[in-house]
Symmetry: C2
Subunit: 710 residues, 2 copies
């Protein structure tokens, strides 16, 4: 039998694109002998993605295969490289080749007759599940036959079409018989994806993903993303050729990784330019900056380039500019909002800066990106891709910073694995057609290629991905780690006093991070214990210090305190029996938000503490911030609340901000004087828990009170 030593895979490539490297990797994975011709040479074969061309390929072959011209045992497999992957061993391939005997040259086949459709009528007829037309992206045959065939015509121009050349040989009955040429009608070896994507299945065999053609019932080996099917090959390339293992998952994630931590001298670490884009008002920008500052990377090997188009964010951005400087970033560059740089120009400029300074990486981070994981940058570098995005989602939404697929018109479309990827059912590296918001670009790549952002007809990020794809480079997304998430800036209303307080619906995760006490979550654990300072009065941390500051700040700026009036136009009944000097959440437009807070954070605790009481959602009409001052209303006389249960959150510090105060439950003769900022009391409102607010002797005491289930 023929052995692997007799088989040589040859291809023509002038440029080491990501596609070429992928091709070579697939050959190496299965141990093919292979040679590439033309590397580093200028390409003169035209843009064969969109028009005919490629005659130069034949000329490279003639030049290089001459040395095998008399070899009648060597088997040559020619293949395109940028858009091809091998998916089985040489042994499997040769076995199939032998089955074609007595044929000596086999061409791949497809359903389209290209580049001259008029020739289709000259093709022999085939069965309905067979491919009729020749595709020259891949063929196999004995070296002597191949060489005769490619040299059978005296001359071919570099920009003539190679496929037309082979087609004419095949359609000439004499020539066909001379070399015993057949088409691989049933795709036993060659699978040309164009127009046949739907025939492809991805069965698992021994933990490995193969290609099965369900139409021809074959398992093709050489997978060719010809023409517009490149997109499909990119998709398949995430799985086939031992890229993926059903047990081990992403195999390519472990290939060629870079471990910077092995470089002890941090001065030797790559220089990363961070490009920060603040193009529209964005909530939680403080956290955005803080998370960039928190990246685990030597600050001296970081530089930051900030584009801020938003006047509202000027002060904060200025502040963080200084902070970056204090942190000894290599440099801190700033396009201020009053520059007239557009988003596209700014993004393009970031590329240029990196190119000019010969930075090692450009790390793009838009303002909507919250890099919760400080190891993000290290991990992205380690994965060693040309362009790589950490997967980021809007929490609880199917909204990601990448597209799994796109339509013919260039719009977002889901790939079959999109939901598995965003839900972390599949984790790894995924070749995708579009990424945005956050990605790392390899500086070496920028030396040979300049991604484009500026196009008057499309968005800068769409243009970016397109320019990369069109150049045959890949956009990867990785979801091996939880890197962070995306903000939803849509409802962010900067005309509010503290706009982030209102973000509980739109950006719940960030709201929680800023405003929910980290220890709150302990209360949710199954065996959590609770402090019970008075009988059936419970006490637990619920909001952060930041929350108490922001809420008091909001109320003091709003400043329409009720003045302890009994007659209260804010109430349905118009009358408050035991009035406090307060501002209601309704007045500052926060009532719905507060009700949501109650449902999310208070109700679960209530259900643990007062077993068997269910009221969903908790209802509350009276949610208010109370202010006590000795010179004004300093206390609240004994009363019951109009509630089933009440929460009473301390908003500032006794002993520091004020003296005195506290809450006393008269029936139990029990006082909680040393209240804790950010902690809430939870107590029954009516009947048993008659209570009073004790006099504040100095300073101001603030509390947030809700009467729940009145």
């Amino acid at each position: 039998a023929i052995s692997n030593d007799d088989l040589l895979v040859v291809s023509v490539a002038t440029n080491e694109t990501d596609g070429y490297l992928r091709f070579i990797r697939s050959l190496n994975v299965y141990g093919y002998n292979h040679e590439t011709y033309g590397l580093g040479q200028p390409w003169k074969g035209g843009n064969i993605q969109f028009t005919a061309g490629g005659g130069q390929k034949i000329n490279f072959l003639r030049e290089n295969l001459v040395r095998y011209k008399d070899d009648t045992t060597k088997i040559i497999l020619f293949s395109d490289s940028y858009d091809v992957m091998f998916t089985q061993t040489p042994e499997s391939l040769l076995e199939k080749f032998e089955k074609f005997k007595p044929a000596r040259v086999i061409f791949g086949a497809e359903d389209f007759c290209w580049p001259d459709q008029n020739l289709q009528y000259e093709y022999p007829f085939v069965e309905s599940n067979e491919k009729r037309f020749l595709n020259s992206g891949g063929f196999i045959g004995y070296a002597s036959d191949i060489y005769e065939m490619i040299t059978s015509k005296e001359k071919i121009e570099d920009d003539e079409d190679d496929q037309l050349f082979y087609t004419k040989i095949f359609l000439d009955k004499n020539l066909r018989d001379k070399w015993s040429i057949v088409l691989d009608k049933k795709a036993d070896i060659f699978m040309n994806l164009n127009g046949a994507v739907d025939e492809v299945e991805l069965p698992l065999r021994n933990d490995e993903v193969y290609i099965h053609n369900s139409w021809t019932d074959s398992d093709p080996i050489v997978i060719h993303g010809n023409g517009p099917a490149k997109r499909s090959l990119n998709y398949l390339s995430n799985y086939i050729a031992r890229t993926w293992s059903s047990n081990a998952g992403c195999l390519q994630c472990k290939e060629n990784v870079i471990d910077l931590t092995k470089i002890d001298d941090q001065e030797q670490w790559p220089l990363v330019y961070i490009a920060a884009f603040i193009e529209y008002p964005t909530p939680f920008l403080e956290e955005y900056f803080e998370k960039i500052l928190n990246l685990t990377y030597p600050k001296k090997r970081l530089a930051i380039f900030i584009h801020n188009q938003v006047e509202y964010h000027k002060n904060l951005t200025d502040k963080y500019m200084s902070t970056f400087k204090e942190n000894e970033y290599k440099f801190v560059k700033y396009f201020n909002y009053d520059d007239d740089t557009t988003e596209g120009e700014a993004r393009q400029q970031a590329i240029t800066e990196c190119q000019e300074d010969t930075c090692d990486y450009l790390f793009v981070i838009d303002s909507v990106v919250q890099l919760d994981n400080p190891d993000t940058l290290l991990k992205l570098i380690s994965l060693n891709r040309t362009i790589l995005a950490p997967m980021l989602m809007r929490p609880e939404k199917t909204w990601s910073n990448f597209w799994g697929d796109y339509t013919e018109e260039g719009y977002y479309r889901r790939s079959p694995d999109y939901l598995d990827i965003i839900n972390y059912n599949k984790t790894g590296l995924f070749n995708v057609p579009h990424i945005s918001n956050c990605y790392l670009i390899n500086g070496t790549f920028l030396k040979k290629f300049t991604p484009q952002y500026i196009d008057p007809s499309i968005d800068p990020d769409v243009k970016f991905s397109q320019s990369i794809r069109d150049a045959g480079f890949f956009l990867y997304v990785n979801n091996e780690l939880a890197y962070g998430h995306l903000m939803d800036p849509d409802n962010f209303n900067t005309s509010l006093i503290i706009p982030e307080l209102y973000e509980i619906f739109t950006n719940f995760l960030d709201w929680k991070s800023r405003y929910i006490h980290p220890d709150y979550y302990k209360s949710l654990e199954p065996n959590a214990t609770f402090q019970q300072p008075c009988l059936d009065v419970f006490w637990f941390p619920v909001v952060t210090k930041r929350f108490t500051e922001d809420l008091v700040d909001l109320m003091e700026k709003f400043n329409r305190w009720s003045g302890s009036a009994h007659n209260d136009g804010r109430l349905a009944g118009g009358y408050e029996n035991v009035p406090t000097d307060d501002i209601h959440m309704t007045q500052v437009g926060l009532n719905d938000h507060w009700l949501y807070f109650l449902k999310e954070f208070i109700q679960p605790i209530q259900q643990k503490l007062y077993t068997g009481y269910f009221s969903d959602p908790p209802k509350a009409e009276l949610n208010f911030v109370v202010r006590y001052m000795p010179e004004y209303q300093s206390k609240l006389r004994p009363h019951h609340d109009a509630s089933t249960y009440t929460i009473n959150i301390a908003l500032n510090d006794v002993g520091k901000d004020y003296e005195g105060g506290g809450c006393r439950f008269l029936r139990y003769n029990c006082t909680i004087a040393a209240t804790r900022r950010g902690w809430t009391l939870m107590h029954p409102g009516r009947l048993t828990h008659f209570h009073e607010g004790l006099p504040v002797l100095k300073g101001k005491r603030y509390i947030m009170v809700s009467f729940i289930d009145p």
Copy 2:
């Protein structure tokens, strides 16, 4: 000066009526010398209340005063007796008499010219505030003059008019001058009340009540209830002539009292016939009979005569007939409801029985009378009156068993002191024009007079009082003790299963007595302590065993148990989450009653136990009796109630009527298993007091549950 020895009060009376005795008492009170002529003689002077007459009085005087005919120092004061009272000392009287000098004979005066109105023009003129016309009910003068005057005409017939006789003498100028006769125009001595009642004031002097004439500005001494003014005199007689003292109250209450307890041999005690009249359906008849049985009096000296016209009461009356017999009443006589005796006939018959058997007292007790005070009979006997009623009221209503006054037409009217009497601001004996329902009649009186009940045009009790009044006897009411009260039978619906359960509105006091636990009231005391078997679960007695029996009896007879269905047409929402096998109070028409119970008995305790919680009135839509049985619904799974607080009353006895059961509060890991019949649990309904009904293992467990303030 003239001394008391010179003064003699003379009067004419054939019959020792109550009025006569009152007259004599007033003379004795002030120490007058007095003589009465004609006692025991037949009266031939006509009915001078309605027509002229009274000549016989003059004839008695002629006959008796002859012995003083020459006495020129003795002063004779003639006075009517049945309708007169003396109200000051002889000294005061004589002093005033001397002021009339040189007049030697003084007649009382009034504003009516009687019996011959034509004579009015012959009278001398007087000032506007003076009385112009002679009244012969009282006059004073020297014995010799008086004798001359009454004998100045040869003969006078017994039925001629005495006043006309004196009038003619006065109008004869010669005769007038002869004995120097004047009229007491300014009522210095004589006050004739007819037409002058409004002139009367009752000032206090030295703790004693006097008559002041505000018109003539005098303090008259001899008060004459002439003609229709007898009623007014009866009223005044409750105060004047040392009958009343502003400090000591009722003085006559201490006069002539009978103390039976001094008679050791009870066989010697007076024989009292009780006459019991059940003329219409009456609530709480059991208690009525029980209270009669409880009278502190030797049973052998009691007999009972029962008239029952009501079929509904037959069984109970039969039962108590037996009980009276067992108690060795002297006799028990029974006119059953199927006799056709009318009310009037029965009442009249009771009089007859007493007269024939020569009973010592007849004690009338109608079915509406609740003699709460067992000493009532003893006290009434002790007060030693002809006819005496214990004051009885419908509680909280101005409805009594006596009238203070009556109109010309004979209808109920209040006297000036009516409200003071019924409110016990004045306590004592009161001469009133009408009594009913309950009174003690002296048997001696019945020997000489037969009160009348039968009159086709008026009610038996109205006829009774009228017949007594008209005969010159008095009807007294006494309110020195709280004797008991009257039922309101108006809304008593004998078609109900247990009609008394529904009497909480109409006969609240009796409802309470039968149904409210006697120890309940201790819980109302200021420093009451409460059992607290579980935290904030309180436990106190509230209803009697009788209540629990009656309610369970009602529900079992009604018998439409819900069958523990989730879908409950009795509820507004139609759905019960944690259903019991129960009957709602609404179903048996008791819901309003129960709400009243909650307000009266539960709310005051709630306010003590759950300080500061006010909800007035307590609201409750779900009030129901639950039945647990092992073979059916034996328990209730953990739940909260639709209430602010709940009461849960045990309706039968654990260990006796059933085994198992009880109420468990899961959050406090606390069980109340040994529940107490008639005691209620009171516990918060929602939030803190998650609870369950534990399985009944044997028998039936009944509870009454209210979800208060849902």
